[in-house]
Amino acid sequence: MESVTPILEFKKTCVSYTKQTMAVKYVSATIEKNTITAIMGPSGCGKSTLLRAVNLMHNLYPNIRVDGEILLNGENILTMQAIDVRRRVGMVFQRPAPFPTMSIYDNVLSGFTLNGIKLSKAEKDATIEHCLKSVALWDEVKDVLNKKGTFLSGGQQQRLCIARALAMKPDVLLMDEPTSALDPIATKHIEELLLELQKEVTILIVTHNMGQAKRISSKSMFMYLGELVEYSDTETLFSNPVDERTKAYLTGKMG
C-alpha cells in the first residue's frame, strides 16, 4: 500500500442555517492529496453546503453557522481569514460565470487583480498560457484573448472558470456540480480534464450524476439528510455498498 497524505480533514463539521435545522451533521472524513473525491446524494442532502464550507463561502451569509473543524494541511480553516483560505481553496460553481466586463485574458488573471497582486507582463503571459493549456482551452482562444469571456460556449466558459481558479495555484479545487449546466460533449471534455488535473491539485466534486462519479473519482462520499452515510473507494461504494440508504440511492430507489 502506498502511503496517503491527508490534505483536507473534516472533523465533526456541522453547518446550520437556523438554530433548528442542520444542513450538514457531524461529518468527519479525510481527503487524500491529488485525488478526485466525489460527493453524491439526493438534492437537499447537504453536499453543496459541505463543499461551500471548505472555502468559507458561508461567511458571506451572516445567519449560517459552521461548527466543528475543517483542517487544511493541519490548520483549522474555520479560524483563519476567509480571504487567505479562499486563495488556497479554489471553487468552480454550477453555472459558468466568467466576469462579463473582463476579457478572457483578464478573467484568468482575475484572482490576482482581485487580490491586488501585481504581476509582470511576462508572468502574466506565462500564467495565462499555462492555465489555459491545463484546461485545454489554449488552442481555442489563444487568438481571441482580448475578447470578452462571455462570448465563449458554456463548456468553454466553465473551463475558463476552472483556469481562473487554477491560476491562484490552489491546494484544493472545489467543484459544485460543474457540468450540470453543460451538454454531454462539454461534460466529457471537463471530465477528461479533471482526470489530468488531479496531478496538480486535489479535487472535491459535488455531483448529481452517478456515472460521472464512477468515471472520474477514486473516492466517493454518499450523503443523505446532512449525514455522511458512506465514504470509501469509488469502486467499493458502487459495487459493494454497506449502508441500505446507499444501496437504495444507487439502485435509483431514492433521489
Partner: protein, 288 residues
C-alpha cells in the same frame, strides 16, 4: 501572501464599509433638518383660523407686527385654490391617463405605442417651469387672463405621464392568465379590461395617482404664470386663484408676511410626505 498585506486589505475593506455607512447616514440628515426646521418654526402658527381665514393684506400684517401681535389670517384661500385646481386636474388626468396607460400596456409592441411611451418619458422629464410657459401660451393668452382653469391645465399636464406610467406598469405585471380566464369565459376585451384587469390593477394605479398628486401639489413655477394668485377665497374657475405653494412664494417675497411662511410650509410638507408614505405603504401591501 504576507500577513501584513492581508491585514492591510482587511483594514481597507472595513474602512470602506464604515465610509459607506457614515455617508449613507449623513444623507438622512437633510430630511431631518428640513422637517425639523419647518416643524419648529411652523408649529405654533397652526391654528383653526390659519385654515379658515384668507391671507391678510401686507398692511394688516404690518400693523400686527408693530403691535407685537400674531399676524391675523391664514392660508384658506390657498387651500381652496389648490383643492379646486387639483380637483379639476384629477377629473381629466386620471381617466385620460388610465386609458392611455391601458393602450400602452395592450399594444406594447406597436410602433405607435413605443413612440407614445417615449413621449410620456419626455413629458415626465419636462421642467415644470416650461409646463407653465406652455399653459400660459395655450390657455392664459387666448382666455385673456390668468385663471384657476389655466392652473389646473398645468397640473393636469404634469400628472398625465405619471398616471400613464403607473397604469401601464401595473397592467403589465398582472398575470396574463387572468385576462385569458376572462376571455375564455366569453367576455369581450373591453369587458375583461373593465371588470377583471383594471380592478386587479387598482392598487397599483391608485398608488400612482397618489404619487402624482403629491408630486404636483407642491409645484410653484407652473402656477406662477397660470393661476397667478389671489388674496381672498374664491371659487370661480375663470379668475386668478391662489394655491398653497404660491402663497409660500408670496410670503417669501413680502417682508411683512414672512412669519406666515413656516405654517404654510409645514402644512404643505406634512400633506405631501403623508401622501408619499401612504402611497409607499399601499405599494408594499399591494406587491405582496
Amino acid at each position: 501572501m504576507s500577513t501584513l498585506k492581508i491585514k492591510n486589505r482587511l483594514y481597507r475593506d472595513k474602512l470602506m464599509l464604515w465610509i459607506v455607512c457614515i455617508l449613507a447616514a449623513l444623507s438622512v440628515g437633510p430630511l431631518l433638518a428640513i422637517l425639523g426646521e419647518v416643524l419648529l418654526r411652523g408649529y405654533d402658527q397652526l391654528s383653526w383660523s390659519f385654515f379658515t381665514e384668507p391671507t391678510p393684506t401686507a398692511y394688516k400684517a404690518m400693523k400686527a407686527i408693530e403691535a407685537g401681535e400674531r399676524i391675523p389670517g391664514g392660508i384658506a384661500n390657498g387651500i381652496v385654490g389648490t383643492m379646486i385646481m387639483l380637483g379639476m386636474a384629477i377629473v381629466i388626468a386620471v381617466p385620460a391617463g388610465i386609458l392611455c396607460g391601458t393602450f400602452l400596456a395592450e399594444h406594447s409592441n406597436s410602433r405607435f405605442a413605443q413612440i407614445v411611451s417615449y413621449l410620456t418619458d419626455l413629458l415626465q422629464g419636462t421642467p415644470s417651469v416650461i409646463i407653465g410657459i406652455i399653459t400660459y401660451i395655450w390657455v392664459v393668452v387666448p382666455m385673456k387672463g390668468y385663471s384657476a382653469f389655466a392652473g389646473s391645465v398645468a397640473l393636469c399636464i404634469m400628472m398625465l405621464p405619471l398616471i400613464i406610467r403607473s397604469t401601464e406598469e401595473t397592467l403589465k405585471i398582472i398575470p396574463a392568465s387572468l385576462k385569458e380566464a376572462g376571455l375564455a369565459l366569453g367576455g369581450n376585451k373591453a369587458r375583461v379590461m373593465l371588470k377583471v384587469q383594471l380592478p386587479a390593477a387598482f392598487g397599483g394605479i391608485f398608488t400612482g395617482i397618489l404619487l402624482a398628486i403629491s408630486r404636483v401639489i407642491g409645484e410653484t413655477a407652473p402656477l406662477m404664470f397660470t393661476a397667478l394668485g389671489c388674496s381672498h377665497i374664491r371659487f370661480s374657475v375663470d379668475k386668478p386663484i391662489s394655491a398653497v405653494p404660491l402663497l409660500i412664494w408670496e410670503f417669501f417675497n413680502d417682508p411683512n408676511l414672512q412669519e406666515l411662511i413656516w405654517g404654510a410650509s409645514l402644512f404643505l410638507l406634512l400633506f405631501v410626505l403623508t401622501l408619499n408614505l401612504i402611497a409607499k405603504y399601499l405599494a408594499k401591501k399591494w406587491n405582496q
